[in-house]
């Protein structure tokens, strides 16, 4: 693994920034976003599928896919980003399927969360950890 001085500094500082601003600092932002979406309602596990890579090939553009049959909206959160809210997909009554895919930027290893609002007003949640790593040294 080789880094130019600039990359070394950039990576080093990124790591330092992560160390200083622990994920917990963003947790309240995530909680706020969830509360705004669900109004504090209970969330069931299951009913929504979140497909994300286990390890990001490039943290700047991570492909994810969400689907929740019967949902009227799905919100995606990157819980460790300074701005956790990524997107909310709304599905009208004529939508052929309640699924969407996009690419998101992740500040570091963190949980990505998808919350689906069902037609009956209930909520479901799925979470997936995406690791962002320096890489190198593969067998």
């Amino acid at each position: 693994m080789e880094f130019s001085r600039r990359e070394t500094l950039a990576l080093g500082m990124g790591a330092a920034a992560l160390a200083v601003l622990p994920i917990r600092a963003y947790a309240s932002l995530t909680d706020d976003a969830i509360a705004a979406f669900t109004g504090g309602a209970e969330m069931a596990d299951g009913g929504v599928t979140l497909t994300a890579p286990e390890i990001a090939e490039n943290g700047n553009t991570v492909p994810i896919e969400v689907s929740a049959p019967g949902a009227s909206a799905i919100m995606v959160l990157a819980t460790g980003n300074p701005t956790p809210a990524v997107a909310t997909f709304n599905f009208g009554p004529l939508a052929a399927s309640q699924a969407a895919s996009t690419r998101i930027r992740l500040a570091g290893t963190q949980d990505v969360m998808a919350i689906a609002k069902m037609a009956d007003g209930s909520f479901a949640r799925a979470t997936s950890t995406v690791k962002v790593t320096i890489g190198g040294c593969g067998g």
Binding site: R5, A15, I55, T129, C137
Partner: protein, 549 residues
């Protein structure tokens, strides 16, 4: 399902301390389908020595479970006698003296003899190559994989999957794959831009063998753009993609597959987890982590077969498939003792033909060694200690880093070190030896990051390499801790002082995944160092303290 492994039988023969080719190949043909598995050959055309790991730590659910069992524990688990041929082939103990007794292993001309013998018993046996084939030697580098392609094509495989092949660069990989006379498979090889299956690599292929409709699904190494330089193959994306694997299994079953085989380069622990999440795979032929297991591991109804590395083993798996179901198996991990198994003269000639243009360069003696040189193991091997010494002295560095790859044959004490030997442990398309400055804090970030690629308790977050090798620096690692807390007591060995997070150190290393890396090629650095030393002696390395294993 009933299962048998040729192993008990082989162990008895091994006790006689006198093996013959017939004994190594002895197998009661079983059922109606035979699979032959080779994997992780790393371009080793000729017989070599290969010492299995002494330290191979499992974490989480895999703690203490195969393949994370070594040495005496391994021999006890499988009933292997100390000092027997099986002890030599499968464990590290007494390696030097057993190597002198039992000789070199591997050689694709010997592998060919074994394949021919299996085909004589079962003419329509499937030969499946798990990848890491077109990488790892002087001739493979100089011919951009052509030497391996020529020899493997002569063995007539039916399908292959991939990892290091991609480090030839996508243009070269595409060129070779377009001309391959067999299937190039990977359900997880995707087009990076569109995130759709790549056109050149098919997810699976059907075979009709022994009256059975067989689907072979490929699974390439999932973390290629992370563990290797993604800029060399930017058009491709990988990942485990087990939801797509399930879709492919369902698809081939719907099309009438009676037997589903996954030809995998996931690594063993990832394959175990995948077998528990994807329903309907009968056999996983596992590669990447270089484990050699004398019996398959059963996860649910899936058997997982691990066939070693560097051409040292061939697995034969006979299956009884009836009424659309795998009813039983018989398995044998065949060690390729090169002095016992006669070379196939045709393949031997073909191998010599590939090497002839480079013979003088290959054979040149650079130095000698008084120490056993080996690499495989979770932490520093003696080869890596030597490479790190070379980096520190030739590049005038404080600290050296060498990648935790699992390939690279061993050299016995008293042996010459030839140029070929050096290339066998260093050859790659991104081998430039950089020299840079890093803070103590950043060095810790690297150790923590690589440590998590090896010791994350969830195999899906592991990359299947070993720990980065370090020269000039000692540390303590607690493998049970989470990322960020595993590494402590980092010591600068030159002064004995603690590493200062704020201080800058000169670090030399090689195998950077970053584009535009500058420096001399690592094999030139190592060659120059060995020439100056004349005879190599590597002192035991006590600089890494491992806790929680």
């Amino acid at each position: 399902m009933v299962g048998a492994s040729g192993f008990g039988n082989w162990a008895r023969l091994a006790a006689q301390q006198a093996l013959t080719q017939d004994q190594l190949l002895e197998f009661d043909t079983f059922g109606n389908v035979s699979l032959i598995h080779v994997t992780d050959i790393h371009a080793q055309l000729k017989p070599i020595f290969f010492r299995e790991p002494e330290i191979n730590i499992g974490v989480g659910e895999n703690r203490g479970r195969v393949p994370h069992v070594t040495g005496a524990d391994f021999r006890k688990l499988y009933g292997i006698e100390d000092g027997s041929p099986s002890a030599y082939a499968l464990t590290y103990s007494d390696f030097t003296s057993l190597a002198q007794t039992y000789g070199r292993v591997g050689g694709l001309d010997r592998v060919s003899t074994v394949i021919n013998a299996i085909r004589a018993a079962r003419p329509d046996a499937l030969l499946l190559d798990g990848g890491d084939t077109w990488h790892g030697s002087y001739t493979c580098y100089q011919t951009e994989g052509q030497d391996m392609v020529n020899v493997m094509n002569a063995l007539k495989p039916d399908a292959m999957t991939f990892h290091w092949e991609f480090t030839l660069g996508s243009a070269r990989v595409n060129e070779i794959v377009e001309g391959l006379p067999f299937a190039a498979l990977g359900q997880n090889i995707f087009d990076a831009e569109w995130d759709e299956p790549a056109e050149l690599f098919k997810p699976y292929k059907f075979f009709e063998r022994g009256g059975v409709k067989i689907a072979v699904i490929g699974q390439a190494f999932p973390y290629m753009p992370i563990a290797n330089p993604g800029w060399m193959f930017p058009e491709y994306s990988f990942g485990i993609r087990d939801e797509n694997m399930q879709a492919m299994v369902d698809e081939v079953r719907a099309e009438g597959a009676e037997l589903v085989v996954c030809l995998s380069h996931n690594g063993f622990d990832v394959d175990k987890k995948m077998a528990s999440r994807v329903a309907g795979i009968d056999v996983i032929l596992s590669g990447h982590t270089h484990d050699a297991l004398p019996e398959p591991v059963l996860v649910g109804d899936t058997i997982i077969v691990a066939s070693g590395s560097n051409g040292k083993f061939v697995s034969r798996v006979d299956l009884d498939v009836r009424d659309g179901r795998m009813m039983g198996f018989r398995h044998k991990l065949i060690p390729i003792f090169s002095d016992v198994i006669a070379p196939d003269p045709q393949i031997a000639a073909l191998i010599d033909e590939q090497r002839a243009p480079f013979q003088a360069e290959l054979e040149e003696v650079i130095g000698q060694t008084d120490s056993l040189l080996y690499r495989r193991g979770n932490f520093n091997g003696t080869w890596d200690d030597l490479i790190c010494d070379a980096l520190i002295s030739e590049r005038e560095a404080d600290i050296a880093m060498s990648p935790g790859v699992r390939w690279g044959p061993s050299i016995l004490p008293g042996q010459d070190i030839t140029r070929e030997d050096i290339w066998n442990v260093t050859s790659m398309t991104y081998g430039k030896a950089y020299r840079t400055e890093m803070t103590g804090e950043f060095i810790k970030v690297i150790l923590e990051d690589v440590g998590d690629n090896l010791f994350n308790p969830d195999p899906y977050y592991q990359q299947g390499g070993d720990m980065v090798r370090i020269g000039g620096l000692g540390y303590r690692i607690d493998v049970t801790k989470p990322q960020g807390e595993r590494i402590s007591d980092m010591t600068f060995l030159k002064t004995g002082e603690q590493i200062d997070p704020a201080k800058t150190y000169v670090v030399a290393g090689w195998a950077s995944v970053n584009e535009g890396t500058e420096g001399p090629q690592i094999w030139d650095v190592v060659e120059s160092h060995i020439r100056k030393q004349g005879t190599i002696t590597v002192a035991p390395n006590t600089s890494v303290k491992v806790v929680g294993a």
